[in-house]
């Protein structure tokens, strides 16, 4: 059989199977907004694990991590270093967010701000930042999907039709099954990804070098600088590593889709337990890095580092296995894209459109508008992915720096009664302006420090200072905050 046909057949079977599971997941569940966005708040450890892992291991892990290991070397260690720390942070914050979510029936991140700070405009601003940050992330998934199919078909299928078909399927199972569909597709995706990572990560160094150890010896001999920071770059040194790891690990759960995933849990304890075990799941990341590092010596001079993993697989394995890796990769793009679509659409309909433009909308109308927005966002991201060749990494980092600015509002809102609406507004505006300015003028990293981290620090300072200068008008979460105050000795500010 023609190798491209064999590989493509396997990819199509895997994608079809995944989409079918996604469509069937709605079985026995009526899809109102509550069920669609937060799965009726009934997920146990296993489904929450699948949902969170399914969302977190995106195309960046699959293609980007090996790609960075190939083109930049040691700075990719930030991805390995941040992984366990993300869950450490989530251990302390997510149960509180979950608690607030259950008490006040929150469905989105913007709902959290709405209730805590009693400001529709602040909530709408948060929703806007969330939706805008999600679009480049969606575009990254799409482009990754296109690359995978193009390489796996040996150039037989151009990336544009591949992206259109893949995203039509994603939109279909999001519309049919909501968050439940996403969690179930994750099962197939995670199993495949795990198998593919273990086989490729162990076999590639073994075939070309005789093992992982000999591969590293060869690389340390040929390119010693590639294996310590700043690797093949000039400005990604230790200061950059510390600031980037801190920024990504403390603000990771500020992505609206990960934030909202905590609402699906059955209890706060489920989230804590999940935080304990999740770091083990990152064990696939080093395997991806081994493949990218092998490619440095085996396939030097690739123009696009992001292709290194797929090119190594294509060079080393039979076509059907390229199909398995390609299928796993395609689902790895589709699952996070599905949740990003779902959350972006809900944020827009519920927290941006209804409160500002049409306050009279019913819950059913919001659900309908959210489903229309799924289609709008899909076509928006598709046209961006097709027509713009803008650097994805820079857009993604911009998105990351954007959502990071929500962190002070969330964490201070949970742990302090003194923080005010104006303080959070001022802090967010300052942080966003600094991040956008530094990044768009090519100043990231700035003096060796991650620009998003600098913006976040300024954001904290401004939020704190402005909060102290203004008086506390409202403190939502009344039922939760007193408990915090009491455990601290009751020294909280009285609210008039």
């Amino acid at each position: 059989m023609n190798p491209s046909v064999a590989a493509l057949t396997v990819i199509c079977v895997i994608v079809a199977l995944g989409s079918l599971v996604g469509l069937l997941a709605r079985f026995h569940h009526r899809m109102d907004l509550e069920q669609w966005t937060v799965g009726g708040r009934g997920f146990g450890v296993v489904l929450v694990w699948l949902l969170m892992a399914g969302e977190i291991y995106t195309t960046f892990t699959f293609l980007g991590a090996s790609g960075w290991a190939y083109s930049r070397g040691a700075p990719i260690l930030f991805n390995l270093g941040q992984a366990p720390l993300i869950y450490v942070t989530s251990f302390y914050i997510l149960p509180l967010i979950w608690e607030a979510g259950r008490k006040y029936r929150l469905q989105t991140q913007a709902d959290f701000f709405q209730v805590r700070y009693a400001s529709t405009y602040l909530a709408a601003f948060v929703a806007l930042v969330g939706v805008l940050s999600l679009i480049p992330y969606l575009q990254l998934q799409l482009t990754g999907l296109g690359l995978i199919v193009e390489v796996a078909s040996f150039g037989g299928i151009h990336r544009t039709p591949a992206m259109i078909i893949g995203f039509a399927l994603v939109a279909a199972f999001v519309l049919a099954s909501g968050v439940r569909g996403v969690a179930w597709v994750s099962i197939i995706k995670d199993l495949l990804l795990l198998c593919a990572a273990v086989v490729v990560g162990i076999a590639v160094p073994r075939i070309y070098f005789g093992g992982i150890g000999p591969m590293f010896s060869a690389l340390a001999h040929a390119k010693p600088n590639h294996l310590v920071m700043p690797g093949a770059t000039k400005n990604l040194g230790h200061a950059w590593y510390i600031s980037t790891v801190l920024l990504t690990s403390v603000t990771f759960y500020m992505w609206p889709q990960y934030f909202a995933a905590s609402f699906t849990a059955r209890s706060g304890k489920v989230l804590r337990r999940n935080a304990v075990i999740m770091p083990l799941y990152s064990i696939t990341t080093p395997l991806m890095l081994f493949v990218g590092l092998s490619a440095v010596l085996v396939l030097p001079g690739l123009s696009n580092g992001d292709l290194s993993l797929l090119m190594m697989v294509r060079k080393t394995f039979p076509a059907w296995f390229l199909g398995v890796v390609g299928g796993a990769g395609a689902l790895t793009a589709m699952v996070p894209a599905a949740i990003q679509l779902l959350i972006g659409a809900t944020l827009y309909a519920k927290n941006l459109f209804r409160p500002i433009l049409a306050p009279g909308m019913t819950e059913q109308q919001v659900a309908k508008l959210a489903k229309i927005m799924v289609l709008v966002l899909t076509s928006g991201a598709l046209s961006l992915a097709i027509y713009s060749a803008a650097s994805l990494v820079s857009m993604l980092l911009l998105g990351f720096a954007g959502v990071a600015q929500l962190f002070p509002g969330v964490v201070l809102g949970l742990f302090s009664r003194r923080v005010t609406t104006s303080g959070v507004f001022a802090g967010m505006a300052t942080g966003l302006s600094i991040a956008v300015f530094l990044m768009l003028t090519g100043r990231d990293p700035y003096m060796g420090v991650n620009a998003g981290f600098i913006a976040l620090c300024c954001n904290f300072v401004v939020t704190g200072v402005v909060s102290l200068l203004t008086t506390v008008r409202v403190a939502g979460f009344e039922e939760i905050l007193p408990a915090l105050a009491a455990s601290r000795g009751g020294n909280s500010t009285r609210i008039p």
Partner: protein, 76 residues
Amino acid sequence: MKRPSLGSILCGLIPFAATCFSVALWDRVYPMVFGLPFNFFWLILWLLLTPVCMWEAYRLEASRSPDTDREEGGID
């Protein structure tokens, strides 16, 4: 919901100290361990040790609040 206890926060600071702030101490190729450069070995080791720290934090939190959650476990 109570705020996390000091003990559990200290458990969480250990992985931060080990994999983030101390980068200058472990970012080196030699000595290689199990065939891995020292920095790769160190971070992979902490993928395994972080759950140990967090399990201790979990135990500390659980003993503080005997809670009355709905029943857990099971897929759906």
